[in-house]
Point group: C2
Chain length 208, copies 2
């Protein structure tokens, strides 16, 4: 019996943690990531700021949890969308170019739909913030996924991969900085991949 009670407690606690994180995202979207304060966050979930310390040991821990959440959300998005768009039809082997375009679109849309999340995951807007090892693992997983997709297109040099990450990171950054909510750079996604593949496949690559 006491086991069940403990489980319920843990569950309630976890739910409240989620509510706090949801409110944190909402506030960060409104006033920017540095503008997120314990006071406002407490008010956002109907608590005093001090009560938050029952759920997170520090503000840093909240940032870290958000970072981890963001990376997991991206991995989930890949799993959903990538599978939904082509997995069943088995086109992954047949057309690696299309898959790279797809992954690139998923990434760019993910970045554009929440500039604050993009900021937290990609740039480092919080001075002393270093994410935990577990959070880094998810980020590295995303990178490897992308690298594999580029390789599958016949482009294998590290230089080329750096160019790819630069290209796609730039489109996301420009979109959020200069046309937030729009599609001015988003719409260049496929064109960018095409440009990239044309250049690197013919130079260092394998099959056309």
């Amino acid at each position: 019996m006491s086991g069940t009670v403990a489980d319920l407690r843990t569950l309630r606690r976890e739910l409240t943690r989620r509510r706090i994180l949801d409110a944190a995202w909402e506030l960060a979207r409104e006033q920017g990531l540095p503008g997120l304060t314990m006071r406002d966050l407490g008010a956002g979930v109907g608590m005093r700021a001090q009560s938050l310390y029952s759920y997170f040991p520090s503000k840093h821990a909240i940032h870290d949890a958000m970072f981890a959440q963001g990376n997991r959300a991206l991995l989930d998005r890949y799993a959903e969308k990538d599978a939904a768009d082509a997995g069943d039809r088995g086109r992954d082997r047949d057309n690696p170019d299309a898959r790279l375009c797809r992954l690139n679109r998923i990434w760019l849309e993910f970045c554009a739909e929440d500039p604050v999340r993009h900021q937290l995951l990609i740039q480092r807007p919080i001075p002393g913030f270093e994410p935990s090892a577990e959070s880094y693992r998810a980020a590295a997983e995303v990178l490897e996924l992308t690298r594999a997709a580029v390789h599958a297109c016949g482009v294998t040099s590290p230089r080329a991969f750096d160019m790819f990450t630069g290209l796609t990171a730039g489109l996301a950054a420009q979109q959020n900085a200069n046309d937030p909510g729009g599609t001015r750079w988003l719409r260049l996604a496929d064109e960018a991949v095409e440009m990239f593949l044309q250049h690197y496949r013919h130079r260092h690559g394998g099959s056309p």
Copy 2:
């Protein structure tokens, strides 16, 4: 006579303003842009924080002055380097591709040599900060310079120019975020321009 005295006073005042801004850059480079405080800044020039208000009406005004300084520095860099590398020899007309590569290298090196300045000029790390109109003018001038250089290479579509700014912004962002002080993305500068021109000149462009 009183005019001379007034001039001296203005001069001294202007010199102190410069000293304050120099110290501001130094501190920002050390502790990040949000870590710049009036206290530390005062200490950096041998004053109390309160005395700074004799030179700048607010912290915001200091940020704005830094923003303007940064943009002017970039324009100066273009004027110096671009002219020094090719102006005398008059290659600008003969080889627009080389000029675009040159401008791109100047820009990337400028961004990489001071990540904090890059952050201030390109991204918007300070929540409520909006630069003054005069500062914006310099930034727009930079953009037009680049657009003209891309046009000279026979690439005229706005889409293509957006791709160019995305590409080059991404290289700078990746360099500073993932390899500060290194050259991992910097060295891709010419290759990026080559890739870009090959793609867009053959598609929408003019002469090869």
